[in-house]
Each structure stands twice: as C-alpha cells, then as structure tokens.
C-alpha cells in the first residue's frame, strides 16, 4: 500500500519534472549567462588583443616569442614550481595522516584540528608576513651568536627560500582541510580500514592501498588548490624580498607591459587547462555518488 503510494508520488514527481523541463522560457537565465560570459571573457580576450596588437607596430607576436628569452622568467618559474612541490608534499604529509586518524579514533581532537586549520583564514597574508618579517629580524638582532642563526640564514637562502614553504603550508591548510574533509566524508573510513585489517593488511598497507585510492579526488583537489595558491602567491614573497613567478611578473611589467600581460594570460590558461584535466580525471569519482 505504502509502496504503491510512493510509486504514485514518484511518478507525479517525474511527470512534473518533465513538464518543467519542456517549458523552455526562462529568459533571465540566458541573460545572466550571457552577461557572465561577457564579463569573464572580455578581459581575457582584451588581454590577448593587448599583447598582439601593439599601437604603432601593428599585429606582432613578439610578446610571446620573447617570454623564454627574458631575464628571470625560467628561474622564477622554476623557483615557484619547486616551492609548490615542496609545499604540496609537506602539507599532504601533515594533513592526510591527521585527518584519517581523526576519522578512525580521537574524534575529540576534530574540533581542535578544524579550528587550527581555520586560523590562517583569520590572519590575512599581509598580517602574516608582517609577523614573519618580525621573527626573521630576530635572527640578526638577538640570535647572531646561537646556532639558530644559521637556521635563520638557511631558510632565507634566495635560491630556495624555505621560509616561503613554511608560510605557504600554513596558508594552504584551510583549503587542504576542506578538500580532504569532503573526500573523507564521502567514504566510510572505519569500515574500509577494518575490512582491510581483517583481510590481513597492516596499518600502513590499509592506509596506502584502501584509504588513499578512495581519496584520489580529494588529494588531487588539495594538490591543485595548493599549486594554484603557490604559483599565484605574491604578498608574502614580495614583502620578504624573494622573486618567484608572480613577483617577477610585476617587476617586469614596469619595462615590458605587453610581456607581463602575455605571461599573465598564459599562466591563467595553463592553470585552467590543468584544472579542467583534473576535473575530467578526478571528477568522475566526485560526481558519481551524487547521481
């Protein structure tokens, strides 16, 4: 009886939805989408035109062909990529075991970790870098006779400023927390681990072969967000006096406006392509359960 009513209800639902679908007149939607497309695409298109159509020179692709030859491009980009790789490795090594452990045991710690990972949101990057700058000044001022001084010098090595990695890991925590939390919420970690354990897997094996493959989408998501954050990061690096990619673009813009816009457009497009690829790769597992 109940079941037949349910089916009846479902069929009216279905019919309502199908009539809904056959009514195409929603002019506001087209208007909104067209407006959004205009607003978001015009600056990109205009940037491309700006780099190609130089006043007084006509159409030229110099801005793009010059990029690789320009001083500092390769080194700053490589520096940014190295920083990103280090940041991703450290943030995942810190966060994945902690998040899985919070699901398995120690649920009392969960609010603590949530608050700790949200703290960087309360301290804007500019305030954070003001604090870091103050700490770094302690080096020459107070610690010059202690072994800590060498550590201070080492983490500020301009070839690989590890202090930036420390800052970026902190800044990535909120995003990584959210990505991993969403991934872990979609699966039953405890059952998974117990199943793996009862099949004879050890703890590391259960983690690596049962939990992590199910977290693939979340891990990719977290890595990508961190990558985008580090590649685009300007505030901390500029104010501490290092020159990764974003700082280089600004420094070069004074003398070569076309070039800096060309690099900006390219970096936006490359990031976009990367994310689209990730969405295609990891998206299936993410959208499947929603049906």
């Amino acid at each position: 009886m109940a079941r037949s009513m349910n089916t009846a209800a479902r069929s009216t639902n279905a019919s309502a939805r199908s009539t809904n679908r056959s009514v195409p007149v929603r002019p506001w939607r087209g208007l909104v989408l067209a407006g959004a497309a205009l607003y978001f695409l015009v600056p990109l298109a205009a940037s491309v035109i700006f780099t190609v159509d130089v006043p007084g020179e006509g159409v030229t692709f110099d801005a793009y062909t010059q990029i690789f030859g320009t001083d500092g491009f390769v080194s700053s980009l490589l520096l940014s990529l190295e920083l990103a790789a280090a940041t991703i490795a450290i943030v995942l090594l810190l966060m994945v075991p902690a998040m899985v452990a919070l699901r398995l045991g120690a649920p009392k710690l969960r609010p603590v970790v949530e608050v700790v990972c949200s703290l960087p949101l309360v301290v804007p990057p500019i305030a954070f870098v003001a604090g870091i700058g103050t700490v770094l000044k302690w080096g020459p001022e107070h610690l010059s006779r202690t072994p800590l001084f060498q550590t201070f010098t080492a983490i500020q090595n301009p070839d690989f400023p590890f202090v930036l990695v420390l800052a970026y890991v902190v800044m990535a925590l909120p995003f990584v927390y959210r990505a991993l939390d969403a991934g872990l919420r979609a699966m039953d970690v405890r059952t998974l681990v117990e199943a793996a354990r009862s099949c004879g897997a050890g703890w590391p094996q259960a983690l690596v072969r049962a939990v992590l493959p199910n977290l693939r989408g979340a891990l990719l998501n977290a890595s990508f967000l961190t990558l985008a954050l580090v590649l685009g990061e300007f505030t901390v690096a500029q104010l501490l006096g290092f020159q990764p990619f974003a700082v280089w673009i600004v420094n070069v813009s004074g003398s070569q406006a076309q070039l800096s816009v060309a690099v900006s457009v390219l970096s936006l497009l490359v990031t976009w392509a990367l994310l689209l690829a990730l969405a295609g790769f990891g998206g299936r597992s993410r959208t499947a359960p929603r049906g």
């Binding site: 700490v135 673009i249 900006s264």
Partner: protein, 300 residues
C-alpha cells in the same frame, strides 16, 4: 568451532583496538599541531608582541604601550582602514547577488557540461586572482587598455585606478567564489519543495520568498561574509594595479613594513595587522556558525 570464533571475535577487541584507537590518533595529529605552532604561532605572537611595544631610538629599550594601536586608528591609517571596509562591503554585496543569480542559472540548467565548465572556471578564477588578474584588467580597461582605446572611455570619465575600478576588478574573483560557496546550498533545495509549494498554489515569487530564501539565508549571509573577508585581505591585485593611490589597509601595511613612508613605522604596521586580524576574526566568528547551520539544514 563456535568457541574459537567467539574467542577470536571478542578477545582482541577488548584489549588492542582501544589502545590502537587512541595511540595513532594522537600521534598522527601531533606533527600537524607542532608545525602550526612553529610556522604560524611564532609569527602571530611576534605580531601581537610588536603591536604593543615601542622601541626608544635613543636607548634601544623597549616598553609596552598601546600607542601603536592608537596611531593605527588615526589619520591616514584610519582612512585606509575605512577605505578597505567600504571597498570590501560594496564588492561583497554586488558579488553575492550576481553570484547567486549565476549559480542558480547554472544549477537549474539542463546542460551538465555548462555546469561543470562554470564550476571549474569558478575554481580557477576564485583562487587565481592576484597579479594576472590585475594585469588582465590593466590591459582591458587601463589607461592604454584595449576597451579604453576602442570605446574612448577616458573621455567619458572612466578611470580604472579608482574605487569603482577596483570594485569591477574584485568582482572577477568574488563572483566565482560566491558561485562555489552557494552552489551546494542551491543543490540542496529539493525539487519536491518547489513542487509542494506549486501544488499548494504558490507562485514562483512566493516560493522564493517563503521557502527558498529562508533556507538559503544562512548560506547567503555566510557567503557574503566570506567574500567580505576575502576582499578585505586582498593585497596583490591592488598592489599590482594601483600602487598606493587608493587608501587600503593592506597597501598601508606594505608601505610601512618596507619603510616607504617613514622609518620606524614597523610596529604601527604590526598594529594595523592586528586590526585586520580582529576584523577577519569577526568575519570568521559570523561565517563558521552560519556555515554549520546551513550544512545541517541541507543534510537533514
């Protein structure tokens, strides 16, 4: 048979999992907490300490005072703080409304590809603002930008390096952020609610006023607060675009840190940073409970 089974089933769980459940939990969380204490806690404390100390240039002695905080709420610094609040509030309101419209247009769309494309693009644009964004707009609407030249905007009084110019640029990353924030909430609006409202004779307007908006209210407000905080903390875009021609608190802090204005203003910069942390803390204190509330609504 049964005896061995029960022994296997019952005996170990009493002893080992209890130990197991606690030990890895603590051990795995400790490195994270230690790292945050080191890389975040020390700079934060240094900022707090610096905001409340002054150094006597003659003797080199430091003393605790609230002079920095008072200075940070006066004159040019206060103008900058208010300028940031105004810019953030205006851009957040506009992007919250436009973001909601765009998200609703995408969520109700028949085309899955459109939805995926918009959400993916939003993910990029919301996170990848900063410098490239500033330059894209300089190339479009700046003094020698493409649109400015083609449409003669300068003659019509257009100036990208102004308050409204910055608002237009900020919308570029705030609207996508709003789309990302509000889409899960819009997904959570059940088709059945709309149908039930319609079956009871409600018009679309009535449905939105009495059903959808009240359910969405926590998410909308939470989204607005998040956008505000995001705009308030933004530095790179403004720095790459306008230099310091617009009074913004982030630009003031950067100037003071790098000693551009006056020597010895570093501690005022720390006090300004503390002001920002207080505003951002307020933002989070509003946002997190709202987000939890909307999550409860939509999961129930």
């Amino acid at each position: 048979m049964t005896a061995t089974l029960t022994r296997v089933d019952v005996a170990p769980p009493v002893a080992s999992p209890k130990r197991r459940r606690h030990a890895p939990g603590w051990l795995a969380v400790v490195p994270l907490l230690a790292f945050v204490a080191l890389a975040f806690g020390i700079p934060a404390l240094a900022m707090l300490n610096g905001a409340f100390t002054v150094k006597d240039p003659a003797t080199g002695a430091t003393s605790y005072t609230t002079a920095n905080l008072t200075a940070s709420l006066k004159g040019a610094y206060l103008t900058a703080l208010l300028g940031s609040v105004k810019l953030s509030a205006v851009s957040a309101v506009i992007s919250a409304v436009l973001g909601l419209l765009l998200a609703q247009a995408v969520v109700t769309s028949r085309f899955r590809a459109l939805r995926e494309a918009v959400l993916t693009a939003s993910g990029v644009l919301a996170n990848f603002g900063g410098v490239p964004l500033a330059f894209a707009f300089v190339a479009t609407l700046g003094n020698s930008g493409v649109l400015t030249r083609y449409l003669d905007l300068t003659d019509k009084g257009w100036d990208l390096y102004s308050f409204w110019g910055l608002v237009i640029v900020y919308l570029y990353f705030l609207i996508p952020l709003m789309v990302l924030t509000i889409t899960p909430a819009l997904d959570g609006l059940r088709v059945q609610w709309r149908e039930a409202a319609r079956n009871n004779g409600a018009t679309a307007v009535q449905y939105w006023r009495h059903v959808a908006l009240p359910v969405l209210a926590p998410s909308l407000l939470g989204g607005f607060v998040l956008l505000f905080g995001s705009a308030f903390a933004a530095y790179a875009t403004a720095a790459a675009m306008v230099g310091s021609s617009i009074p913004l608190v982030t630009l003031q802090i950067a100037d003071a840190i790098s000693g551009n204005v006056l020597v010895g203003q570093e501690n005022v910069a720390l006090a300004l940073s503390l002001d920002m942390v207080l505003v951002a803390g307020l933002v989070m204190a509003v946002y997190l409970p709202l987000q939890r509330r909307s999550a409860r609504w939509l999961e129930a």
